[in-house]
Amino acid sequence: MPMISRRSFTVGTLMSLGVAGMPMFVRAQEGKTVALLFDSLVSPFWVSGIEIMRQTAEAKGWTTLEAISDFDDNKQFEQVQAMIERQVDGILIIQTDANAVIPAIRAANEAGIPMVHFNRPPAENEYYSVAIQADNRKITQDTVQFMVDEARRLGGTYKAAILIGDLGDVNAIQRRDGFFDIVDQNTDIIEVVARIATEWNADKAFAGLTNAFQANPDINFLFTSSDFMLPQIQQVLRVAGRWHKRGEEGHVIFGAFDGDATAYQLLVDGYLDADGVQNLFLEVEMAFGAFEAMWAGEQPDKLLLDPGFVIHAGNLEEVRDEMWGYVVWQKEHG
């Protein structure tokens, strides 16, 4: 009978304990309670986001506690404190202001509760939390590059307009920068004649775009920083007599960002050329994965990027399952 050394025995025992402990760890993960703190549910992106989170958490056997701050940073800080009092296992937060959330991160750190920022990273700070964010600039660059390629394929020169989001929102700024990164390299065919600050407000988007078309009736290259403004854009283009499908005379090369159900419908119908998609499913997986890593004692990077993708007529069927808006669209259309 072979002799077992003390070292082999120790290693074997530890491994056995580790294997035996795994179910316990999994069981412990199953009972987790996670707070979902949204600042609002103002667009289909957030509505779908919270729905996917609920489903993913349920599949993992977690309990979720939800609160909405209505863009009120103070109220959100109170919600964080309330969740700390309730001794939740993790806090997923969508803050309004990148700086105002820092005291909340400090409070969560002091309580030893992992915090994950969803879709919006906090400002630079000394405390530890993990942010999941779409690579807004890169996704926009890719979307606008597709539009530029289309413009070059069709030939001619273009007058461009961009609908910018809230200038205080880092996502809006990154999307704007991504747009200009590409058009600035193509000034031989594209001239930006209208920069419309919408403040993420549909009224302002409508009025601003109407005025832009009044000043420049020949705008033929249009990018919106969010899909939620698509109905208003459609209305403006219709009134201006510019609502034409790809391949039709007078079609405006049209790109958008987000990946919602309206964008999917407009891609199918041929009015929208390209849509930069935030991979909401991946972002939720990344956020929940970050919690699991932190519970296991790991320290993931402070910023995890969702690379996203561009969807257009050429790859629609291939990638649409990754588009959260397609899932919503499927539900709406049976």
Partner: protein
């Protein structure tokens, strides 16, 4: 015998001084018009197609819903009150009309929407007049409740107007868009009510001195109740007019709309302390704000400059208003002079 009869030269000097002050006051009264002219000229120079009828048409169409709500707000401000719930009323009404009344003819669904606005306005009026809760608190509460109800009804999803609504929004009568007609009707009715009816005069009287108005036999609670009801209806109408233009309403519909509405009224010379203001001024304020916003877009101004320019104009208007109030108070001050005994015979 007064000093003026004793010293004609001094009287002439005082009269000249008073005339100077009156000229200053007139200049300040006209300052919104002057400001508007400067804005138009500057943007006309900056954007080729700014000085066109089409642009003017767009400005009025886009300002119409704000102007309608601001006219309702003017009634409230004239009584030294405030209505913060106008944006929430817009959203609730539009949510109800699109979600539950979409299959009904507009001749039915829109009046029901207006009744909803009237109901919320009456709720505001009830709490302010009967329960005696401050207007700020009451309307802040209805703001939150209204938005909450609308978010619940829509499940925060975007709601869409049906084709009839869109057709109405694009319909022209005698060359003018439907929203301009609605704005025009509201303007004329409000103008006549404030200018030529006992109710209008009572609104001013209550705003200037509610205690004195009550002593004079005016039914102050009824008047206050009435102005909040009017504001509710105007907010509902503004929401519906906006819906005919933008085709859909997301959960930010009407969000913080109270600010541009109050700004329009104040820009037009309505006092936040009550008793002073006109619907002409309010409509003018709404048009001025929209003209600036239109000009900024048409001249492709850096979006970072938008709030600075708009805030600068509002600040200037408020500053001028403060100066106007000060001079008007000085002119209206009762002068008590005691004759100098040495001047006597």
């Amino acid at each position: 015998m007064t000093r003026s009869t004793l010293h004609p030269a001094g009287a002439r000097a005082r009269k000249a001084g008073a005339d100077g002050v009156r000229a200053q006051l007139l200049l300040l009264e006209l300052s919104p018009l002057i400001l508007f002219a400067i804005v138009v000229v500057l943007f006309g120079l900056a954007a080729d197609r700014f000085l066109t009828l089409a642009t003017l048409n767009n400005v009025v169409i886009q300002a119409a819903h704000i102007a309608i709500i601001a006219i309702g707000m003017t009634f409230v401000l004239l009584t030294a009150g405030i209505d913060l719930s106008v944006g929430a009323i817009m959203y609730v009404v539009v949510a109800i009309v699109t979600l539950y009344l979409g299959d009904l003819p507009l001749a039915v669904s829109f009046p029901i929407g207006l009744l909803v606005g009237l109901l919320i306005g009456c709720i505001n009026g009830f709490f302010i007049v009967v329960v005696r809760v401050a207007p700020f608190i009451t309307t802040l509460a209805t703001l939150f409740i209204g938005r909450g109800v609308a978010l619940f009804m829509t499940d925060t999803a975007m709601v869409f107007a049906n084709d009839d609504v869109l057709t109405l929004g694009q319909t022209d009568w005698l060359g003018l868009r439907s929203s301009i007609w609605v704005f025009g009707v509201v303007f004329v009715v409000a103008f006549v009510v404030l200018r030529s009816t006992p109710f209008g005069r009572q609104v001013y009287a209550v705003g200037q001195d509610p205690a004195a108005a009550a002593k004079a036999g005016l039914k102050v609670p009824l008047i206050l109740f009435g102005v909040y009801a009017i504001s509710g209806v105007c907010a509902a109408l503004g929401g519906l007019v906006s819906l005919t233009q933008v085709a859909a309403a997301s959960s930010t519909f009407g969000f913080q709309k109270e600010f541009p509405v109050i700004a329009a009224a104040v820009l037009g010379g309505t006092s936040l302390f009550g008793g002073r203001g006109t619907v002409v001024g309010t409509a003018f304020g709404a048009l001025l704000i929209q003209t600036v916003e239109t000009g900024l877009v048409m001249s492709n101004t850096d979006p970072y400059a938008y709030p600075l320019v708009i805030a600068g104009i509002i600040f200037l208007a408020v500053l001028v208003d403060a100066q106007r109030t000060r001079i008007a108070a000085r002119l209206n001050r009762r002068k008590i002079r005691i004759d100098d005994p040495q001047d006597r015979g």
